[in-house]
């Protein structure tokens, strides 16, 4: 029984190994190595778009339910073929480039957006031994690459000479920079506890006791997770942090001037980022693919999809931030909280369990109280808006 379980668990790994073995029969070694790389790469390259397509479907369905609609249900059973249809539509649409746009960059931007989004997949541990490349600086790699995603947005917003795009770009810059800081800091505790930057090791340290070793079951873990998840939501410009593409304010933010496949690429990048961020969140705090009974990759995708559903739920529920509130939230609330959280983790490491719980709860409570007190939003009696001339 359990060997079947393990077989299902390792099915992809074994498949790859089998293919390599097959090639190994009649090909030199370096080609086999190359082949293994190619296989992983191809797997990821297929995975990304597929995930994106079905995430769009999922989102439209869930949002539909939240708004008491059906969502797409015409194309195929339960609208399962809807994404394909969208894809075809996107391909066949005309690709409009503004008259005095910065042609080259305008072309490069969407492509550049997809690249890092795909690159991140490399370090995401999809399951037991299913990390494409287990870098020993995996998490740093993730942060670095995801920080690149700012650039294409800049390129897009700059190259399509359009004030809405530019404003969108500005906001993106501010927002992404601001939220990178707490996101990184919120992940630091997990790294401290597992004493490694490698995503795989982080997952392995959370093994055992039916998932009770997941980092989320500790005070610093829960705080870190919440902060990280909020920052992730902001990082991939999803509501309620979607100021860069706030329909009601800037037409569509930085991709106002894009149409057809380029637009689709932006979309794809956004959804893939959402997926990878949720995956990393699950990896850091929810024990990645660790979990009883079910095969590891099922656990991973389950957790990730759950997180994504929460994101969609956010979108269905919350109104949009105001820019200054956004900034204040990042710098005045999340940042101090994460810093205290890191100290807390050190404390946790060096004190006995019970005392650690006590202290952590106390400190966190005090910190939250202070932050809430200090962050009281000052609302003047009368606002007078000066129109721009």
């Amino acid at each position: 029984m359990e060997n079947i379980g393990s077989f299902i668990d390792m099915i992809f790994v074994t498949a790859k190994a089998w293919i390599l073995a097959l090639l190994g029969q009649f090909l030199p070694v370096w080609i086999v190595v190359l082949a293994s790389i190619v296989i992983s790469g191809v797997a990821i390259l297929c995975l990304g778009p597929v995930i994106m397509m079905y995430l769009t479907l999922l989102e439209r369905k869930v949002i539909g339910r939240i708004q008491n609609r059906y969502g797409p249900n015409r194309v195929g059973i339960w609208g399962l073929l809807q994404p394909i249809a969208d894809g075809i539509k996107m391909f066949t649409k005309e690709d409009i480039v503004p008259a005095n746009a910065d042609k080259l960059i305008h072309l490069l931007a969407p492509i550049m957006t997809v690249v890092p989004a795909l690159m991140i997949f490399v370090v995401v541990p999809f399951g037991r031994q299913m990390t494409a490349a287990d870098l020993n600086i995996g998490f740093l790699y993730f942060i670095a690459v995801s920080s690149i995603t700012i650039l294409p947005i800049f390129m897009a917003s700059w190259s399509s000479r359009n004030k809405y795009s530019l404003l969108g770009g500005m906001r993106t810059a501010a927002q992404l920079i601001s939220y990178e800081v707490p996101m990184t800091l919120a992940a630091v505790p997990a790294i401290m506890m597992s004493q490694s930057l490698s995503t795989n090791t982080i997952v392995l340290t959370q093994a055992g006791s039916f998932g009770l070793n997941w980092f989320i079951f500790t005070p610093w873990g829960i705080v870190g997770f919440i902060v990280f998840f909020l920052c992730a939501t902001a990082e991939c410009n999803r509501p309620p942090f979607d100021l860069p593409e706030a329909e009601s304010e800037l037409v569509a933010g930085f991709h106002t001037e894009y149409s057809g496949m380029k637009f689709a690429l932006f979309y794809m990048a956004e959804y893939m980022n959402a997926f990878t961020l949720c995956g990393i969140a699950a990896t850091l705090f929810l024990g990645g693919w660790q979990g009883p009974f079910l095969p590891s990759w099922v656990w991973f995708f389950g957790k990730t999809l759950a997180l994504i559903c929460i994101m969609i739920w956010f979108r269905g529920t919350f109104p949009r931030f105001r820019v200054d509130h956004l900034m204040a939230f990042a710098w005045k609330f999340l940042l101090p909280l994460t810093l205290v959280n890191i100290l807390l983790t050190a404390l946790w490491q060096f004190t006995s369990a019970s005392a650690a719980w006590l202290f952590s709860i106390m400190i966190l409570a005090a910190m939250l109280y202070m932050l809430v007190k200090l962050n009281r939003v000052f609302v003047p009696e009368k606002r007078n808006y000066v129109l721009a001339d």
Partner: protein, 159 residues
């Protein structure tokens, strides 16, 4: 490497500042590649994170705030490019000569030595803790200073 140099040239020659910034980003990413080749993965990560994530963003930010969208091309170079080129030529030749002349003490043991993020952290917290503290203070001062300078009507300007 050549690519990096090309991008670097782009940085200093392009007329449109935004292109320069992008070239800089490319050059920096390339540099990160070199770091990896030198087995300083951690540093490569930091390089991308800080430069491409932080500095370039700031630069582009400043460009967006200061440049005019319709790229009217003003003269980007000032009068002293000729003496600069001449001087630099001399400089480069001299130093290349120097580099080629010097016997560098490259040891096999050094080449074997591995570094890890953990070792880096230990060194940072151990041997080099004092410079580390100093840097932190400098960063803090810079943070405050920047906020103070840019306070007027650009509150988004942060390091």
């Amino acid at each position: 490497m050549a690519a990096i140099l090309v991008f670097a040239l782009g940085v200093v020659t392009f007329r449109n500042l935004f292109h320069c910034a992008l070239c800089l980003a490319a050059a920096l990413i390339g540099t990160a590649g070199i770091y990896i080749a030198l087995q300083a993965e951690f540093l490569a990560g930091v390089q991308i994170l800080l430069y491409v994530g932080g500095v370039i963003t700031l630069v582009v930010f400043a460009i967006m705030l200061t440049e005019h969208l319709a790229g009217k091309t003003v003269r980007q170079n000032n009068a002293q490019s000729l003496p600069a080129i001449v001087g630099l030529a001399g400089f480069v030749t001299a130093l290349i000569a120097l580099i080629l002349k010097t016997p560098w003490p490259v040891t096999e043991a050094a080449l074997k030595a591995k570094t890890s993020a953990m070792g880096l952290g230990e060194a940072l917290m151990g041997t080099y803790v004092f410079p580390f503290e100093v840097i932190s203070i400098v960063l803090l001062a810079a943070l405050i200073g920047t906020v103070v300078i840019a306070k007027k009507d650009a509150p988004e300007e942060r390091p």
